[in-house]
Assembly symmetry: C2
Homo-oligomer: 196 residues x 2
Amino acid sequence: MPPSKKQHLISCARRLFESEGFHTTGIDRILEEAGVAKMTLYNNFGSKDMLIVAVLNDTSQDMLNRLSASVTHINDPYEQILGIFDALAQWHDSDDFCGCMFQAAVAEFPDPESEPAKAAQSHLLRLTELFYGLCIRAELDDARTLSSMLAMIASGANCTARQIRTDLPAKHARQIAEILLERACSRPLSSSTIAN
Amino acid sequence: MPPSKKQHLISCARRLFESEGFHTTGIDRILEEAGVAKMTLYNNFGSKDMLIVAVLNDTSQDMLNRLSASVTHINDPYEQILGIFDALAQWHDSDDFCGCMFQAAVAEFPDPESEPAKAAQSHLLRLTELFYGLCIRAELDDARTLSSMLAMIASGANCTARQIRTDLPAKHARQIAEILLERACSRPLSSSTIAN
DNA sequence: GGTAGAATAGACCAACCTGTCTGTTTATTT
DNA sequence: AAATAAACAGACAGGTTGGTCTATTCTACC
């Protein structure tokens, strides 16, 4: 009935994985929630792990799209970077926030060679890339280092927010970002910048 | 043979949980590794979840002890704070580093009322408290906010390090901490500091 | 040396898990 | 209206899990 069973399965699985974790959410729970037969799942995805990968990729794209969209109306790229953290705060403040799915994925799939772990890792890279693009547009010094730092702060805000359940970490992250940006306008971040 | 079976069980379980996760590590794996009978485990801990809690508490104490110990030889409390991040970098650089166990715990036990989740949360509080004590001793402004920020940055470094597997995130975290401390010497971090 | 408490091995259980298979029903297309 | 493909319900298999129980052995202590 909905545009595609496949997409419907992904979004139901996403909701369950977010709120209950990957391992603890059984296939049957997902099928029941989605109102879909077991064979539909296995015909479309092949295995539970591959469903997880599909969910991670879908969520990554959705999340990066939202973050980008939330700052397009801002002109100054400098302010755009700060806007990302505002969007983060808004996310953390919403009722259904229950932590960053990609951090959960690396925790539940410790083998870095596993497909879910790789999907989670590539999300982090894409997020860093998003910051990098904005840093370049803002003509900031040392964009490579700076964007790594911003991504790291965002990760810190995500996992801290999961625990204390307020938007305070994101607000703190924004303050820190502001300080970093201020400094990156004039002088380099460190005299001996480490490679990569 | 070792001081106590209980402690031996905890440290074996710790190693396995760290490298393979909580849910994926079965009871039997732990027993085999520890060379201990199943009933010994259940007599001492009652359940797998309670073993996990014991491991988390033990690890928390061990980790905070190590961090504190790594900076006791430094006189200046300002430098002590930075020393914490050096210790973090050293940890991340070691071969057996495979991420922060407490972040893994909150990911694998999404229910914040569950005992493992509570144990993980209280570790974060203790870490923040450690920073707070150092901030006070360094006579820095806005110690409450600052220590929250430092703990958040440390968390960000932890989870980023898990993914890219270098000590670079911790080094970046140290740089950021340095900037924050520098500013906290003179003026408050924000005119309108948010409560708590 | 006898006794009490802990630790042992290992069988056992019920529940749950992912994944497969089958036969039927529903939609879509021509 | 016929044919093709997808989705369906549900039984089934094989394996694993956390946890219990029992009967035996080890280890101290008095």
